[in-house]
């Protein structure tokens, strides 16, 4: 097929069919749920932070291909990074998706894979699908930074 090339690139389909870091962490530093009531996307993010480093990250999710692929790529991108570095990646990604009009934005090195998600920008209604995991991660990092022991923070997109 000639179509959906932009949106359903190899990379995205690969992450959709084989999402990375699926599952749960038994005793995470924090756990955050993210939902988008409008389209029904739901995910739970488990974050394990040690010495300000993302030691482990896991996701369980029920959502569309964009949401699933975006979450999967995100876990790949931030696993092993410092909290500060992860926050930088989040910021660049959201900038790429929400602000920048040009094709070429500067993502941190080795993050080029995330560019695959740029195709989503042509479909405004679906940008939120791509963003949800990242907003959920932002909240998780906030929880950890604030030493927030609350285990069930919730992020809602609208």
């Amino acid at each position: 097929m000639s179509l959906s090339d932009e949106l359903y690139r190899e990379t995205i389909l690969d992450h959709y069919h084989h999402p990375r870091n699926r599952g749960v962490i038994e005793k995470p530093s924090t756990l955050v749920e993210g939902v988008n009531p409008l389209c029904g996307d739901e995910l739970t993010l488990y974050l394990q932070v040690e010495d300000s480093k993302i030691k482990d990250i896991k996701l369980t999710a029920k959502g569309c291909s964009i949401n699933t692929a975006s979450g999967s790529m995100m876990t790949d991108a931030v696993l092993g990074q410092s909290i500060a570095e992860a926050q930088k990646i989040i910021d660049s990604f959201k900038h790429m998706m929400l602000e920048s009009r040009e094709k070429d934005v500067s993502l941190p090195e080795n993050m080029e894979e995330l560019e695959a998600l740029q195709g989503v920008k042509k479909y405004p209604v679906r940008i939120k699908c791509a963003i949800l995991p990242w907003n959920t991660l932002t909240q998780a990092i906030k929880n950890v930074s604030a030493n927030n022991s609350e285990k069930s923070t919730k992020v809602e997109m609208s």
């Binding site: 959906s4 999402p19 029920k62 291909s65």
Partner: protein, 418 residues
């Protein structure tokens, strides 16, 4: 079947290409396309006799007023109402239902009263009653549904009771396609002294409709779903009910006389039409009604039964279509009990992904909750994909829908278990 070849020539958009493919428009439950007669009625109005209506003395204003009021007559006949004074123009079906909630509702609903709805109601026939219930202390009750998406009439007999003041039900479900037994429900409501509001947003465009046969007290619908322009809704109600209702919005045109601190409301129907109405689009709505009258609503219904039977047969043969058991269709399987609205899911694939891949093949369907979130919860799905037909759709287009679905399955199927 209708002569779709001829009909399609009247719809300029149908010769458009989308993503290099021919447009196959199957999102008619969201809004219908418009024939050139309707489009031209708008241009003609603005090019020849645009003017504000009512009380204008000059020629353009006389002409605009006459054409505007003519649509009211056409609609009166279209739904077999007795009196054009019973036809109120609003911004859309949603505004028509809100008018009833704000005006009739606040004047008549008290704490402890019950409003009976169904779980298949569109948010527009649900949220206004939630708001009214919250403000007045009334209770909302919900009828039960059968497995195949019909109203369980036993539950209707049970829930419509001595405290029921209003029953508000859709004529046809925008998810299941179910055509509800309105007249039967009307009898139950009236036996309890309750009024019946019918959400005709899906029904009126597709089924020959008579307010006498429905035996309803209020009927709300939207012209944009029946060949008309966006921006015009209709509320019909029995004259004595409208007479007794207080005005809703205040402003120009809805008054008879105004002093600094008080006003007298205008007579029907203008009492409920505040401010400059959507003149051009009301006039063009007349052209839409005329177009439908020419075809005949009975023929429209028969065409959709044909298409529905065909679609149902294809859904039934899913295995032949390579979809295995993945393809789940919601709603009644009997074409005589439903309109041409088909909601379905394809395995674990998110409806948005189905919608997107179909769109890339030129097939426009809707994906999501269809403004029926409570129903989606009941079905246990985040949403559905939905294909819906109208007078210009053909069996070939239904075939294309299934071809596109196969493609979607190929691209997105076989998701690893999560």
């Amino acid at each position: 079947m209708l002569n779709t070849n001829e009909i399609r020539k009247d719809f300029p958009i149908l010769s458009r290409e989308v993503n290099g493919k021919k447009l196959i428009y199957l999102d008619n439950a969201a809004t219908s396309q418009k024939p050139i007669q309707v489009i031209d009625a708008i241009s003609d109005y603005y090019k020849r006799y645009n003017a504000n209506v009512h009380r204008g003395i000059h020629t353009l204003s006389e002409e605009a007023t006459t054409a505007y009021e003519e649509t009211r007559e056409l609609i009166t006949d279209f739904i077999k109402a007795d009196d054009s004074k019973e036809i109120i123009f609003t911004a859309n079906a949603t505004a028509a239902i809100n008018l009833v909630a704000f005006s009739w509702g606040k004047a008549n609903i008290k704490k402890g009263d019950e409003i009976v709805l169904s779980p298949m109601e569109h948010h527009s026939n649900l949220v206004p009653w939630q708001m009214l219930a919250k403000e007045t202390g009334a209770k909302l009750l919900f009828l039960e549904l059968t497995e195949d998406g019909q109203i369980d009439m036993e539950s209707a007999k049970e829930w419509i009771g001595p405290h029921t003041k209003l029953v508000a039900i859709t004529q046809m479900s925008n998810v299941f396609g179910t055509i509800n037994p309105i007249a039967e429900i009307a009898k139950l409501a009236h036996a309890r002294g309750a009024l019946l509001l019918v959400d005709g947003a899906q029904g009126v465009p597709h089924i020959p409709t008579s307010v006498h046969e429905l035996q309803c007290d209020f009927l709300a619908f939207s012209m944009h779903k029946m060949l008309g322009p966006t921006g015009v809704g209709v509320l019909w109600a029995k004259r004595e009910i409208l007479e007794a209702m207080p005005p809703f919005m205040g402003g120009g045109d809805m008054i008879s006389s105004v002093k600094l601190t008080s006003f007298t409301a205008n007579e029907l129907p203008w009492k409920f039409e505040a401010g400059t109405p959507n003149i051009a689009d009301v006039i063009a709505s007349g052209a839409a009604i005329t177009y439908l009258n020419k075809i005949g609503m009975q023929a429209v219904r028969e065409h959709e039964i044909e298409l529905s039977k065909y679609a149902l047969s294809l859904f039934a043969e899913t295995s032949k279509n390579g979809m295995g058991d993945d393809l789940v269709l919601y709603g009644p399987l009997d074409a005589s009990k439903r309109g041409g609205v088909f909601s379905f899911n394809l395995g674990d694939i998110h409806p948005h992904d189905i919608g997107q891949i179909l769109s890339d093949q030129g097939v426009a369907i809707r994906a999501g909750h269809h403004c029926c979130q409570p129903l989606m919860n009941e079905l246990g799905v985040p949403g559905t994909a939905r294909a819906s037909f109208y007078i210009y759709n053909t069996k070939e287009e239904v075939d294309m829908l299934f071809t596109a679905l196969k493609e979607a399955k190929k691209v997105l199927g076989h998701v690893s278990i999560r």
